[in-house]
């Protein structure tokens, strides 16, 4: 870090949270240093494939149209998979609120926006400690180097080694996170349009549950990018450590080669493969405080990601919490400084925003999804019913009879099914 040594604000990590904070603060004229451990912003980042746009519009306004957007999602698909059979629900629309992209591209764009606004971005610096002195955070360290600031914004990501080092959080537990593993398959723009029934610039988001993860709670995903598809799995680690039977890369390969799916991309080439942890626990993973003397905690490091089973919101949540942290810092500065009491307006802003409302309202839903028995039984019920209804021999089976047989085979009592369905609907 052979740059100057004292800053108004140092941000750790040029991911969606850090860069959104840096952009917002630099625009206000703060002297901002963003430290990124990768050679380029985004090089250490991986997500499923889709970003919800509205929170980003709040931050970037019309400039968002210049972002590296691959396709606007106009087709949503949910599938239950049981062996080689699957049952799907598809939603198609002429409007869209989310887009697909490569996160490394989006992260680079967001970091460039922060730079253009006047923040100094320094890459290839792995911050390994947050400096704490006389009851407040005063800067960061990387090996022999130290840099000082009135405020540090922690946007270090899910592993949050720095917060652990400060004693603000304990080491992550398997129950708090999920592992995502993903392949990006190059296919060509026209082939994607033809095979997924999409027009130019239109995308699809597809989530699959059931035997596709060996019934380990989590799910599989397929997203269409401009000329590639992203396919992968998310497995709740608390379950996966007990239930996994084969290497996770081979599970991703089974998804790629699934008889009902493979023809969509069989002639494509794998361009890249990777894995990343994602917060799962919602409020249970949050540090006790997100604002301390001289420190704000944003994005995945704060556990501020929403997973409700049928969709995951990570990037937009991270970006928006970075933005709220910046707004809080601006207000705290006006009030006289980055003390805990002045910065605590960040927690209020989070509570008043969709971030905290969604997290507290919807996180319990994922408990229902990850109820291991239910997670196995639902796909069996859906596929079992459909296969009885549609695979007609001599006699045409009735729908209720098919459902009842499938329900019994899946091990559901009628009452317990109704009760779980009711609880799920209430959460939603």
């Amino acid at each position: 870090m052979d740059v100057k040594n004292k800053w108004d604000i140092i941000i750790v990590g040029a991911g969606p949270a850090g860069s959104a904070a840096g952009y917002t603060l630099a625009k206000k004229g703060f002297d901002v240093l963003i430290l990124e451990r990768g050679r380029q912003p985004g090089y250490k980042e991986l997500f499923g494939g889709r970003v919800y746009a509205e929170p980003l519009k709040k931050i970037y306004g019309n400039e968002l149209s210049g972002a590296p957007i691959h396709r606007w999602v106009k087709k949503e698909k949910l599938s239950f998979v049981d062996g080689n059979k699957l049952v799907s629900l598809e939603y198609q629309s002429d409007t869209s609120t989310s887009f697909t992209t490569y996160l490394p591209q989006l992260a680079k764009w967001m970091a460039d926006k922060a730079s253009e606004a006047g923040a100094l971005l320094v890459e290839e610096v792995t911050v390994d400690r947050i400096l704490y002195k006389d009851g407040k955070v005063v800067g960061v360290g990387s090996g022999p180097d130290e840099a000082y600031a009135d405020l540090v914004i922690d946007a270090e990501g899910v592993n949050r080694l720095l917060l652990e080092g400060l004693g603000l959080v304990e080491k992550l537990k398997p129950e708090q996170v999920a592992i995502g593993a993903k392949e990006t398959i190059k296919l060509g723009e026209d082939k994607i349009n033809e095979r997924f029934g999409l027009s130019k610039g239109e995308g699809m988001a597809w989530l699959l549950m059931g035997s596709i993860t060996d019934y380990i709670p989590g799910g599989a995903f397929v997203y269409t990018n401009k000329d590639s598809v992203s396919i992968g799995l998310v497995l709740h680690l608390g379950h996966a450590i007990k239930e996994v039977k084969e290497h996770i890369s081979q599970m991703v390969e089974k998804l790629r080669l699934h008889p009902q799916l493979r023809n969509l991309w069989i002639d494509g080439d794998i361009m890249e493969y990777g894995g990343h942890l994602t917060p799962e626990a919602g409020p249970a993973m949050m540090p006790k405080k997100l604002a301390l003397n001289g420190l704000l905690i944003t994005g995945d490091a704060g556990g501020l990601l929403l997973n409700v089973g049928y969709t995951i919101r990570g990037v937009d949540f991270a970006a928006y919490t970075g933005y709220l942290a910046a707004e809080a810092a601006i207000e705290a500065h006006e009030k006289g400084g980055f003390t805990e009491s002045n910065l605590s307006v960040y927690e209020k802003k989070l509570r008043d925003s969709f971030v905290y409302k969604d997290l507290t309202r919807l996180t319990g839903m994922q408990d229902l999804y990850s109820d291991a028995k239910m997670f196995k039984a639902l796909p069996k019920l859906a596929v079992g019913t459909a296969s009885r209804v549609f695979e007609i021999g001599l006699e045409t089976p009735g729908i209720w009879n098919s459902f009842t047989q499938a329900r019994k085979e899946a091990g559901f009592g009628l009452f317990s099914l109704a009760w779980k369905g009711y609880k799920l609907m209430k959460k939603m």
């Binding site: 592992i179 894995g275 990343h276």
Partner: protein
């Protein structure tokens, strides 16, 4: 397409071959160290299945670890039942470089 060909097309790729698609600038110094004496006593060894890069493999009854193909997800550190793993990020721009994730 003949039965023969279709069988060839549907063969899963091994993790080592899949990882050929990725790009690293490998640090000379490992960013992860494993106390393999603890692994010997580990009853479940979840790292063998859940490290997405397959950095942990079994040789005989020993867990052999290599850091070069690590994608820096942190999974091994979270799941290790024996607390055998000392985990840091690689230094100064080293390690995995995701481009299309």
């Amino acid at each position: 397409m003949s039965q023969e060909q279709s069988k060839q097309d549907v063969k899963p790729m091994k993790i080592d071959d899949i990882l050929q698609r990725d790009v690293w600038d490998v640090d000379l110094e490992p960013h992860i160290t494993v106390d393999s004496s603890k692994c010997e006593k580990c009853p479940t060894k979840p790292c063998l299945y859940l490290c997405p890069a397959g950095c942990y493999v079994l040789a005989g009854n020993k867990v052999v670890f290599s850091y070069e193909g690590c994608v820096e997800c942190g999974t091994c550190r979270v799941i290790c039942p024996m607390n055998a793993i000392t985990w840091h990020y690689p230094k100064s721009g080293k390690g995995i470089m995701f481009r299309f994730t």
